[in-house]
Structure formats: structure tokens, C-alpha cells
Symmetry: C2
Subunit: 230 residues, 2 copies
């Protein structure tokens, strides 16, 4: 199957390409009858064949393989403080449905727990596996052993849920690099912890003016990302 991927407005039986995509086909030295992949940027992907290829115009015919790509454009990580009881199970399950590639457990100043047993970690990993199947994902998220917040290194963007922050996720999210979201324990992150994260480049984003429970905040924040089509 061709590895060339071309973006189209919508998957349709016949798809006329824009000038940039047509140039792209010429650069790739493709010809009428050649196969490629089309995607709509909304999660749908399919095989297609070049039916018409002129200097400034191209028409593709949709193949029969249409699939929904269930993964985010770049890996999405939920970093979440250790929570009491079964709350982490609920969070891992919902986070998996909402597309995370990994869940990083964190030890924070006010965390409900300072550690997690090996058995419980295994159980969380199994929950991620089940939830991944149920939500028809190709990827099983990894649940990572807790590390102290101050020592956690992330790659790409980090968004920290902060009640009443003036910044909003919508204007900041950029899938050019991995995306991380972080939510605190029941008592919240300390001011020092938040300041430390912001110094390291994190964005504090609002989840509205109300106080959310520690197990609601990650679902709400990941839901906001999902509602952007990811």
C-alpha cells in the first residue's frame, strides 16, 4: 500500500485536489493509476487512485479501504497526581477512551498517596488495555510508575488545569509536538508547584470557574481536546 498521504476536504467517491496537493503529486512523480492514501484530518483515512492528473488539476477515486484513524496526530500524555481508592482506575479508563498514549502518575506535595503498589500498577495497565479495545484503538496506553512532579520531564506542550486561569486550551493547542496535560490531587497543586511548572514552560489553562474533583478534571481537559476533533 502506498505511503504517500494527501489531505482532502472530505472523503468522497471522487475528490478534486487543491493546487498545493496537485503540485505535491507532480513532485512525487506520480501518474494516473497510481495508488495513494487520502485523509481528511478528522480521523478518516482511505486508499485512493489518481484518476485525472493535469498540470494544475487532479481527481482521485476513493478506494474501498476506509478506516477511522483513532490516534491523535502526536502522542498525548496525561500526567495525573496519585489519587485515593479506585479513582485512578476511572481516570485511566476515561483517558484511554479520550486518546492518551500514556498516563504518567505523579507524586505531588498534596497527593493522596506517595506510592502505588506493583499490583495496582499492573491493574491500571490492564484497565488501559481493556479500554483501548473497547474504544477500538490501535494503541494501548502505557501507565508509568509515579515520579515526583519536580523531576518529571515532558516533551512538547504541557497544559496544567488551573481554576480561573485566563488562558484557554483552544488558542494554545498545537499538534506539531507531543501534547501533555496535567491535573493535581484532591487538594490541588501547591502554588509553588504551579509556579515551577510555568517556569518550565507549562501553560495554565482554565476549566471554568468551578472547583472540579481530581477525577473529573482530567476527563474534562481531555474531553476538551477530543472536542477539537482529536
Amino acid at each position: 500500500m502506498s505511503r504517500h498521504r494527501v489531505r482532502v476536504a472530505d472523503l468522497a467517491p471522487e475528490m478534486t485536489l487543491g493546487p498545493r496537493e496537485v503540485r505535491h503529486l507532480h513532485v512525487l512523480r506520480l501518474a494516473v493509476g497510481d495508488a495513494l492514501r487520502v485523509f481528511d484530518g478528522q480521523g478518516a483515512e482511505a486508499s485512493a487512485t489518481i484518476a485525472v492528473l493535469e498540470p494544475e488539476r487532479a481527481v482521485l477515486q476513493l478506494g474501498d479501504v476506509v478506516e477511522r484513524v483513532a490516534e491523535t496526530p502526536c502522542p498525548l500524555t496525561l500526567a495525573v497526581a496519585l489519587l485515593k481508592g479506585d479513582k485512578l482506575s476511572d481516570v485511566v479508563r476515561a483517558a484511554t477512551e479520550l486518546g492518551v498514549a500514556s498516563v504518567q502518575l505523579l507524586i505531588t506535595e498534596r497527593a493522596d498517596a506517595r506510592e502505588i503498589g506493583a499490583q495496582k500498577l499492573t491493574r491500571l495497565q490492564r484497565i488501559a488495555e481493556e479500554a483501548s479495545k473497547q474504544s477500538r484503538r490501535a494503541v494501548i496506553p502505557t501507565v508509568l510508575s509515579p515520579v515526583p512532579l519536580a523531576g518529571w520531564q515532558w516533551e512538547g506542550q504541557l497544559f496544567v488545569a488551573q481554576p480561573g486561569s485566563p488562558e484557554r486550551l483552544g488558542g494554545l493547542l498545537d499538534w506539531a509536538a507531543p501534547v501533555n496535560v496535567l491535573t493535581g490531587p484532591e487538594g490541588g497543586l501547591s502554588e509553588r508547584e504551579v509556579a515551577g511548572l510555568l517556569e518550565r514552560g507549562a501553560h495554565a489553562v482554565t476549566l471554568g470557574p468551578r472547583i472540579l474533583r481530581a477525577e473529573t478534571a482530567p476527563v474534562a481537559l481531555l474531553g476538551a481536546i477530543a472536542a477539537m476533533g482529536r
Copy 2:
């Protein structure tokens, strides 16, 4: 306490107003020393006093009453299909934290149940009360007895969660009128049900390309609204 409300960029000890707000003060025939309310549009509100009032410039001094307004600009309703077991409790709790004014239970074609006992309804109402207190809201959401989906009348906008819909909540949400969000039962809404809602003016919006459980979808959708600062 003054009922005049003036929007400011941020609550600060001294706030200089823009030309439009200054004109507004003159129109209201206010003078130095008069009291009013300031709000930042992000949920924070406070009393303030006019310290300086010139033809094109005004400075306000922040009063000591600062409160976070925890309610959405217009009422927000979650309409949710009847779900099995304790799932509705979890949904009502999270929906309350995320700012709904009411939860309308719905009987749908594939709903897990066709009715709900009076005792269970009372219990859901009590959960809304507790969650309202915990999230420091002034409003206790009402949990409304189930009605058949086809007979449910809503006011304002209605957003229905539909996997893979090309429409996104972000571009559509408008607080000029009440906002309603609707999520289906475990088996989803039927095509006929969705078509009927769209005919009646509902918007189908995406929650990303993955399959969400019936109890995750409402939290994700309400989370997306909360992440817009509401």
C-alpha cells in the same frame, strides 16, 4: 450594592477603563466616589469605586468583595439517556461540577432502561445538591424525570455528541441563549433519532474519532464547554 456592571481586563487594585466603558459611566451619570461592580468575563466579579472620572479616562478602585461567579452566562442543560446501574450518579455528579443548571433524563430507542424509580430520582437530585456544594456553586441543578427523546423540547442551542462528526463545538457555541448538550445510551442513538434531532435544529459535534462510553461522553462534552472558560 450598585447594579451597574463594568467589564475590566483583569481585577486589580486600580483599573483604568477603556473609552467605551468611560462613555458608559458618563451615560449612567455616575460620579467620583460612586460604587459599581466590575467583572472580567472569566468568572471573577467584585465591587469597585470610581476614583478618577475625566471625559475620556476613568480609574476604578477595587472593593473588598471579590467573588468568583460559578454559573454559566445562560442555563446549561445536559440531556442524557437513561443508563444502567450507578452510571447516572457519576454523570450527574460530574455534570454538576461542570456547571449544568439541569439534567434532563431521556428515554431513547436503545436506552438501557425505560424508566427510573422515584427513589432513584430523589437520590440523583441529592447527588446534584452535594456536588453543587462541593464545587461551590450558587445553583443546585434540577434532575428532571425521563421523557421520550422525540417529545423533548429544548430552548436555545442543542449539541449532540456524534463520533466523527465534522462539526466542532468550539465554532458553534453561543451563550446568547440557553445551551443544551445531549448524549446517548451505551448502544448510541439510532440514526433515525439523530436525523430527527438535526431536523429540529440540533448540531452534531465530534468528540474525536474514538468510541466513548455513555458515561464518558457527557463529561467530555461538558469539559469542552468548561475549557472555553464557562
